[in-house]
C-alpha cells in the first residue's frame, strides 16, 4: 500500500478570509440582498433604489424569505457581507455591483486566455470526451455542505451535465465513482443527459477510502480508445484529503500526460499536493470550493469548451448525416432503446434506419447523425463578441429615436446612476459599433446571447461564418 497523504488546510481557510474574493455571495445575490436589507432596518440606511432589485427572482432560492433571527447562526458568515471602503469603514456589499464585478473578472480572464492561446486562429476543442469522477469515499459523507458533500456534488453535477450538453452538443460524458478504494464506471460515454443524471442519483452512498490512481487508471483505459479528433478530459470532484493507491501514482500521471488527457480537480475540502501536481502536469485546472454556490460556479467553468491545445487533438474530417424529420404517419419501429416506439422519427440517410432522437449514432451503420441546429449551438464559441469597454463619457445620441436621454441601446433602460453608492462606471460600450449598454445587458449579451445588438443592427461587414 502506497498512500500519498497531503493537504494544507491553511490555504482554503486563508482564501476564506481574504475579503473581497468572496465567491459565497456571487451566485446567490439574493441571499446577500436579504442580509443587506435586514441590516438596513437596524439602522444603516436602506436606499429606495434597492426596490426593484429585491423583486428580482432567483432560482437559487435558499435562505429566501427568512428574517435575520430565523436563520441558523452556524451557517451564517455575516462578516462576509461586509466590505471595507477606501477610508477603512465597513459597509454592506452592494450585491449588484459585486455580482457585476465578479462577472467582469470572469470575462476578462476568459478573453485574455483566448488571446494568449490563439492569437492567430480560433481553435476550440468542440468535440469533447469528458469523464466526471465523483469521489464517494467516507469523506463524501461529511456534513459541512448541507445536507452532505455527496448530495451537493450530485446536485451540482446535474446542473453541470445539462449546461455541458447545451454548450457542447456533440460531446460525450461518462460518470465514474470511487468507493472503497475501487473505481467504477457508472455510465458509459454518451450524449443523453437524463440517463446520466438518473443513474447518478440512484447510487449515492459513500464508504471506504478514495483512490486517485485507480480512478485515473480506469479512465485512461477508456479514453485511449476514443477517436483521435476528440478531446480527452477528466474532471475529478474530490472530497477526501488523501488517496490510497496500490502502486506509484506518479507513473499513472505520466501515462495520462502521454495520452493527452487533461485532468482537472475540484476539491471540496482543502488543497492536496498530489492533485495540484496532477493538474499542472496534464494541463488541467485545480480549484477548491468554499461552499455550495462556489462549487457550482467552479463546476460550470468547465462547461464551455477550452481553447484547444494545438497538438492535443488532431484536426480531422468526420463523416456525418443530417437526417430529415419524418412527416409520414406510418407506424414505424425504431431500434433505439429497449422498447419499441411508434410515431415520428428521423431516417438515417445512409441505411434508412429509424432513430428517434438527435444527436446520435445510427445503430445499424454507425453514422453520426446530427441536425444543423446542433452544430449551430457551438458556433458562438468560434465567433466571440468583443469585450465591452467601461465608459464614463456620455453616450452619444446619434439615433433619431432615442431622444436626448442616455439609454441602453439594447433594452432602452436609462443609463443614469441607479446604484446607491455607485461611484464607478454605469455603462459599457462595444469597441466595434460604439453603442452603449447597461451592465445587465452586458452580462446577458456575453453570457447567453452571444450577439452584440449594436453590431447586428448595422449592415454586416465580413464577419459571418459563410463569408470568406
Amino acid at each position: 500500500m502506497f498512500a500519498t497523504v497531503g493537504g494544507s488546510g491553511g490555504s482554503a481557510i486563508g482564501q476564506r478570509l481574504s475579503g473581497f474574493e468572496n465567491p459565497r455571495s456571487s451566485n446567490s445575490g439574493n441571499k446577500n440582498r436579504q442580509r443587506v436589507q435586514g441590516r438596513g432596518s437596524n439602522g444603516v440606511d436602506d436606499d429606495d433604489d434597492d426596490d426593484d432589485d429585491d423583486k428580482e427572482q432567483d432560482d437559487d432560492g435558499r435562505g429566501e424569505g427568512l428574517d435575520a433571527w430565523e436563520r441558523a447562526y452556524a451557517d451564517e458568515r455575516s462578516w462576509e457581507s461586509l466590505q471595507e471602503d477606501e477610508s477603512g469603514l465597513l459597509r454592506p456589499i452592494d450585491p449588484q455591483t459585486f455580482h457585476y464585478a465578479q462577472y467582469r473578472r470572469r470575462l476578462l480572464l476568459r478573453s485574455s486566455a483566448e488571446q494568449e492561446s490563439s492569437s492567430l486562429r480560433i481553435q476550440k476543442g468542440l468535440i469533447r470526451y469528458l469523464y466526471i469522477v465523483i469521489d464517494l469515499s467516507r469523506a463524501a459523507g461529511e456534513m459541512d455542505y448541507k445536507p452532505s458533500r455527496m448530495a451537493v456534488v450530485a446536485k451540482c453535477t446535474e446542473a453541470f451535465i445539462k449546461e455541458f450538453f447545451d454548450q457542447n452538443p456533440l460531446s460525450h460524458i461518462s460518470l465514474v465513482t470511487i468507493k472503497d478504494g475501487i473505481s467504477q464506471c457508472l455510465t458509459e460515454l454518451g450524449g443523453n443527459p437524463e440517463s446520466q443524471i438518473k443513474s447518478l442519483m440512484g447510487k449515492l452512498e459513500c464508504s471506504g477510502d478514495s483512490s486517485l490512481q485507480n480512478a485515473l487508471e480506469l479512465v485512461h483505459g477508456y479514453l485511449s480508445q476514443i477517436p483521435s479528433y476528440g478531446h480527452r478530459e477528466v474532471l475529478i470532484l474530490y472530497s477526501s484529503l488523501s488517496t490510497c493507491d496500490p502502486n506509484d501514482i506518479m507513473v499513472t500521471i505520466e501515462k495520462c500526460k502521454k495520452a493527452k488527457i487533461r485532468c482537472s480537480v475540484i476539491g471540496l475540502a482543502a488543497e492536496i499536493y498530489i492533485c495540484r501536481y496532477l493538474c499542472e502536469e496534464t494541463g488541467g485546472s485545480y480549484s477548491i470550493a468554499l461552499d455550495q454556490s462556489h462549487l457550482k460556479e467552479l463546476l460550470l467553468e468547465h462547461a464551455p469548451p477550452l481553447p484547444a491545445i494545438a497538438d492535443y487533438a488532431i484536426g480531422n474530417l468526420i463523416r456525418m448525416g443530417f437526417p430529415q424529420r419524418g412527416v409520414d404517419s406510418l407506424i414505424s419501429t425504431r431500434s433505439c432503446g429497449e422498447e419499441l416506439k411508434v410515431g415520428m422519427g428521423y431516417t438515417c440517410p445512409r441505411c434508412y434506419a429509424r432513430v428517434c432522437e438527435l444527436p446520435t449514432e445510427c445503430r445499424v451503420c454507425g453514422l453520426t447523425l446530427v441536425s444543423s441546429p446542433h452544430l449551430a449551438r457551438s458556433y458562438h464559441h468560434l465567433f466571440p463578441i468583443p469585450t465591452f469597454k467601461e465608459s464614463s463619457d456620455p453616450a452619444p445620441t446619434s439615433n433619431l429615436y432615442q431622444k436626448s436621454r442616455r439609454m441602453c441601446f439594447a433594452c432602452q433602460q436609462d443609463l443614469v446612476n441607479q446604484g446607491s453608492n455607485n461611484k464607478s462606471f454605469v455603462d459599457v460600450s462595444c469597441p466595434k459599433c460604439k453603442q452603449h449598454f447597461c451592465l445587465d445587458c452586458d452580462i446577458y449579451i456575453h453570457e447567453i446571447l452571444h450577439n452584440c445588438p449594436g453590431c447586428e443592427s448595422q449592415p454586416h461587414s465580413k464577419n459571418g461564418l459563410n463569408n470568406k
Binding site: D51, D52, K55, E56, R121, Q123, K124, L126, D166, Y229, G230, A308, A313, I314, G315, N316, L317, I318, R319, M320, G321, F322, P323, Q324, R325, P349, L367, S371, S372, P373, L375, A376, R377, S378, Y379, H380, F383, N399, L400, Y401, A410, C411, Q412, D440, C441, Y444, I445, I448, L449, H450, N451, P453, E456, S457, Q458, P459, H460, G464, L465, N466
Partner: protein, 303 residues
C-alpha cells in the same frame, strides 16, 4: 420603474408582452409594389395596426413593443408601457402615431444607404439585430419585476434570409429557447428557413399566408392569442422543418457530409484544409490510412 411597482404585482400567466419585429426593408416593399400580387406598405399597415390595437384591448395589462429593422438599422418604434405612462393614445391617434414613426424610420433607413446598389436584388434586412434587441428588452422585463407578463416575439418578415446572419440568428434562437420565449413568424415574401427553425425550436407558429388581402384575419386568428390559450386552439401545423445542413463551400443542401472536428464547419466533400479555421486534415494519423496510399498512387501516375 417607479409607478410600475404597484401595478406589476397583478401580472400573471394570461397577460402577454408581445414584441413585434417588423421588416420595413424599403427594397422589399417597393418591389412588392410593382408585383401583381400587390400589398403596398400602406395597405399592409391598415391590416397590421389593428392587430396591435386588438392585442392591447384583449387585456388592459397586455404590452406591446414594436421594433423595426431595415437594411441599415434597427430600432424601437413603439412601447405601449411607456406610452401608457404618458397617457397613451388609442384608436386613430394611436394608428397615426405609429405609422408616422415607422415612416420616419423608413426614410432614415434609406438615407443611411451607402452607395447606390442595384435595386433589382433585395438586400436582406437585419433580422438578427431586431431579435437581439427584443431579447434584451425581454430580459429587462424579467429582471425588473417579480411577476412578469408572458413574453413572445412575432416576426413579420418580407425580405429573404441573409446567410451572413446565420450564426447571429441561431444564437438569438437558442437564447430565446433558454428563457422560453416563443418566436412566432409570419412571412410575407419567400419562405424563410431562419424563421422556420426559430418557430420550430421555440415552439411558436410559422405561417406564410396564402392571400395577403385578408392578412388581418390571419394575424388576429393566430398571433393575437396568448400562449396559454393556444392549447385550446387548432393552430396551423408546421409542414415539416428542413433541418438538413447546407455546406459552407457551395451552400447546397446536403443530407450527408463532412465536418471539421475543430470548428464544426460543414463540407460536402473531403478537403485538404478547413477554410474556416485553417486546420490541416492531411496530417498523418491513425484514422485516415487511405489518404497516403492515394497520394503515392497519384505521384506514380504523374511520373
Amino acid at each position: 420603474m417607479d409607478n410600475e411597482s404597484t401595478l406589476s404585482t397583478i401580472y400573471s400567466e394570461d397577460v402577454s408582452l408581445m414584441v413585434v419585429i417588423l421588416d420595413i426593408n424599403p427594397l422589399f416593399w417597393t418591389s412588392v409594389n410593382s408585383n401583381t400580387n400587390s400589398l403596398t406598405f400602406t395597405k399592409f399597415m391598415d391590416q397590421f395596426l389593428p392587430l396591435l390595437n386588438s392585442v392591447l384591448l384583449l387585456n388592459q395589462l397586455n404590452e406591446i413593443v414594436l421594433i423595426a429593422h431595415g437594411i441599415n438599422s434597427c430600432g424601437y418604434i413603439y412601447n405601449s408601457s411607456m406610452e401608457n405612462r404618458r397617457g397613451g393614445k388609442r384608436g386613430p391617434a394611436f394608428f397615426a402615431e405609429v405609422s408616422e414613426k415607422l415612416k420616419e424610420f423608413m426614410e432614415a433607413d434609406c438615407l443611411h444607404r451607402k452607395g447606390a446598389k442595384s435595386t433589382s436584388t433585395i438586400v436582406p434586412s437585419l433580422l438578427s439585430g431586431s431579435l437581439s434587441l427584443a431579447l434584451c428588452y425581454i430580459q429587462r422585463v424579467f429582471r425588473s419585476r417579480p411577476i412578469y407578463p408572458r413574453p413572445r416575439i412575432l416576426c413579420l418578415q418580407g425580405s429573404p434570409d441573409g446567410p451572413e446572419q446565420y450564426v447571429a440568428v441561431m444564437n438569438a434562437i437558442f437564447s430565446a429557447q433558454r428563457s422560453s420565449v416563443l418566436i412566432d413568424s409570419c412571412v410575407l415574401g419567400l419562405n424563410s428557413a431562419f424563421l422556420q427553425q426559430a418557430s420550430h425550436i421555440t415552439g411558436g407558429v410559422y405561417i406564410k399566408p396564402q392571400q395577403l388581402d385578408g392578412l388581418f384575419q390571419c394575424l388576429s386568428m393566430v398571433f393575437a392569442t396568448d400562449v396559454q390559450s393556444r392549447s385550446f386552439l387548432q393552430l396551423p401545423k408546421p409542414a415539416g422543418v428542413d433541418f438538413r445542413a447546407s455546406c459552407f463551400c457551395h451552400k447546397t443542401t446536403i443530407s450527408m457530409g463532412y465536418i471539421c472536428s475543430v470548428c464544426l464547419s460543414i463540407f460536402c466533400k473531403r478537403h485538404k484544409k478547413c477554410s474556416t479555421c485553417g486546420s490541416d486534415f492531411n496530417r498523418p494519423n491513425s484514422n485516415s490510412k487511405s489518404s497516403p496510399v492515394q497520394k503515392s498512387k497519384r505521384k506514380l501516375d504523374d511520373r
